[in-house]
């Protein structure tokens, strides 16, 4: 019988199945952060329980940590207490931990791969919906809630419903400046924020094969914004080259045995998917969102749409709400939308490749007057590398703030927020109401597009801006 990548990953982790088609899966790796786990530890300790395999976990604070003045204690007492709680919990249960002042600290979905904690063929869970990111390595990775975190910690297993399979073939040739973020937004605009619900998505095709790991992670990261809990890409030489020599990756004979196995992890040539779609990206332009769902995305050359185009009442209501919340009038050219804040960061777009793309745009230019622009690298290691490569200096010279790593303005828990009515160009993943602060208005886009918006002060086609330098 032929199998998809998902089938192989699933079947290699089934401990037992249940009558209703669900299964108990073995969980190889669990990433912890300060926000998803306080209640999980309490639940375990209430039962006098312990962690099944402490070494299968890796903990790091990322969501609530400040991105400035790391030399001082965290100013917000709640954020300080939550970070401290993680420190105490992991110490009590002997969980491997990367503390705030460690150069390896960063966003869970950046440091997992960076440390080689994320590996092909594994089941990886984390109390964060963007855990789909790790599927870029050909593993089964998904977000879970705090109760499930507790179950995983106590049992090393989790009960899951098997997903339907969906393959997204990415075909065609990319135009200049087209990034995985544009591809993700184009896909979500087409299938909807709920379009892949119930499915495990595998991205495939020549564009994917040629894609570096950072972009594969961006694409898999955004799967949840299409409703899919799982996104994945079969591991290949690009994957192995990325992982070789990472601190927690296998070495020597174990490495050779591992890649022999990992090479078997791809969908069989004639494997059948429950659903298959092809996205030709030859005509994809840089995308931006205009509304309050990632599906509200359009090519930058477009205009703000009208609610009149939508007949179904809940969708129409949502669009009307979105326009009112965003303070936008139908028919407005997207390029005429002015912005106040630029955020380059998040588990979607804070890796070195993302910073290089943004820095190339800002190099030799200045941030527009009145615009506050910040760069928050995904990890301390990304931060150091960007400083070595001169990217940090390029951002500083242009008038950007260069911050310390964390989730920052993507989730707005650490004090990095928009004020009511402020509008951002953001490389993060969610433009929900209030996501970046009460009343804040978010436009999602790629790092190069966010950099271009910082320079001009409005949503901008980066290709036009680049042409002005030539």
């Amino acid at each position: 019988m032929t199998k998809t990548l998902y089938d192989k990953l699933w079947e290699s982790h089934v401990i037992r199945t249940y009558d209703d088609g669900s299964a108990l899966l073995y969980v190889d790796r669990h990433l912890m952060h300060e926000v998803s786990t306080p209640q999980s530890f309490i639940a375990i300790e209430k039962k006098n329980g312990t962690l099944a395999r402490p070494a299968a976990n890796l903990a790091v604070p990322d969501h609530v940590v400040p991105t400035t003045r790391r030399d001082k204690p965290i100013a917000d007492p709640l954020a300080r207490a939550q970070t401290q709680r993680l420190v105490e919990n992991v110490a009590r249960h002997k969980v491997p931990f990367i503390p705030l002042n460690d150069p390896r600290q960063g966003i869970v979905h950046v440091i997992g791969p960076e440390q080689g904690f994320t590996l092909p063929g594994i089941v990886l869970a984390c109390g964060d919906s963007h855990t789909s990111t790790h599927g870029a390595f050909g593993c089964l990775a998904f977000g879970i809630g705090a109760s499930e975190c507790g179950i995983v910690m106590a049992t090393q297993a989790i009960r899951q419903q098997r997903a339907r399979t969906m393959r997204v073939n990415i075909a065609g040739e990319r135009g200049p400046f087209i990034n995985a973020k544009d591809i993700a937004l184009a896909l979500i605009a087409r299938i909807g924020a709920n379009g892949a619900a119930g499915h495990a998505v595998e991205y495939a095709g020549p564009v994917i094969s040629a894609m570096p790991m950072a972009e594969r992670m961006t694409l898999c990261n955004m799967s949840i914004e299409a409703g899919a809990r799982v996104g994945m890409i079969a591991p290949d030489e690009t994957t192995f080259a990325y992982l070789e020599g990472r601190p927690m990756a296998p070495t020597g004979e174990m490495w050779r045995r591992a890649i022999d196995y990992w090479r078997t992890l791809s969908s069989d040539a004639d494997a059948a998917f429950d659903r298959e779609i092809t996205l030709d990206i030859s005509s994809v332009e840089p995308y931006v969102t205009w509304g309050t769902s990632p599906e509200d995305a359009l090519p930058i050359g477009g205009r703000v749409p009208s609610p009149d185009e939508v007949a179904e009442p809940t969708r129409r209501t949502r669009r009307e709400r979105a326009l009112a919340y965003m303070g936008l009038k139908p028919g407005t050219r997207l390029e005429d939308i002015g912005i106040d804040v630029v955020f380059i960061g998040s588990c979607t777009n804070s890796r070195i490749e993302d910073l290089r793309a943004a820095a190339a745009v800002v190099e030799g230019r200045r941030v527009a007057k009145g615009v506050k622009a910040i760069v928050v690298p995904g990890s301390g290691l990304v931060c150091e590398q960007a400083e070595r490569e001169g990217l940090a200096q390029a951002f500083l010279n242009a008038g950007f703030e260069w911050r310390q790593p964390g989730c920052s303005m993507c989730v707005g828990m650490n004090g990095d927020t928009l004020s009511p009515g402020q509008r951002s160009a953001s490389t993060s993943n969610r433009n929900f109401e209030g996501r970046q602060g009460i009343g804040g208005r978010t436009h999602l886009m790629s790092p190069a597009m966010a950099a271009a918006a910082a320079i001009t002060g409005h949503l901008t086609d980066v290709r036009k801006l680049a042409a002005t330098r030539a």
């Binding site: 401990i15 037992r16 249940y18 009558d19 209703d20 669900s22 108990l24 073995y26 926000v35 998803s36 209640q39 039962k47 329980g49 402490p54 070494a55 299968a56 969501h63 709640l78 954020a79 207490a81 002997k94 594994i122 109390g127 964060d128 998904f142 977000g143 879970i144 809630g145 705090a146 109760s147 499930e148 179950i151 106590a154 049992t155 090393q156 297993a157 709920n194 619900a197 119930g198 809990r229 927690m248 490495w255 045995r257 591992a258 196995y261 769902s293 809940t314 969708r315 209501t317 949502r318 709400r321 989730v411 828990m413 009511p420 969610r430 929900f432 109401e433 209030g434 996501r435 009460i438």
Partner: protein
Amino acid sequence: MTPFTTLESVAAFLPEQNVDTDAIYPARYLLLMERDGLGPYLFRDRRYLGDNKRNDGFVLDREPFTQAQVLIAGSGFGCGSSREQAVWALTGFGIRCVIAPSFGEIFAGNAVKNGLLTITLPEDIVMQLGAAAERRAVFRIDLETREVHVDGERVASIDIGDNRRAALLNGWDETDIVLREDGEAIAAFEAQHRIAQPWLFQEADT
């Protein structure tokens, strides 16, 4: 958790699509480390202007829906962030059942672990139920018989897997079940897995 058998209540109707967990429970309250008492933060930014000024008019603040134990919404309810606080805030407010054409998967998984029943029904039926909710009809949700009644009339059946239903009816805690029933199976699997993929077990397990 509290077992779920039957409930009878008015239902609140929120006719919107893709109501995300940031809307249900804004991120800044994730700094609280409790799981009880989160009801006041439910849909906080829809119910308040800023942090403290009441924005009257949200359905859950209108009588009789302040007493609603059932919430009816558009497709994609609970999409977005995995925060279980979205479920805790709903149950903290008194909501025990959400009816929608579809749900965010992580939200639905979190719900069942906290005695919150999610019922998936076709969009046209959900809209009819929403209209009945606005008429202040009385909803009866019976998980024993898997039936939804509106003003005494059976309008839909509840399609739910046996495991989820049993967990809700009995108020079971999944950690306890897994450890009790499957502890040996997990250990046996792990021993096999250790042989098949030894590179995953190189760390100093204690």
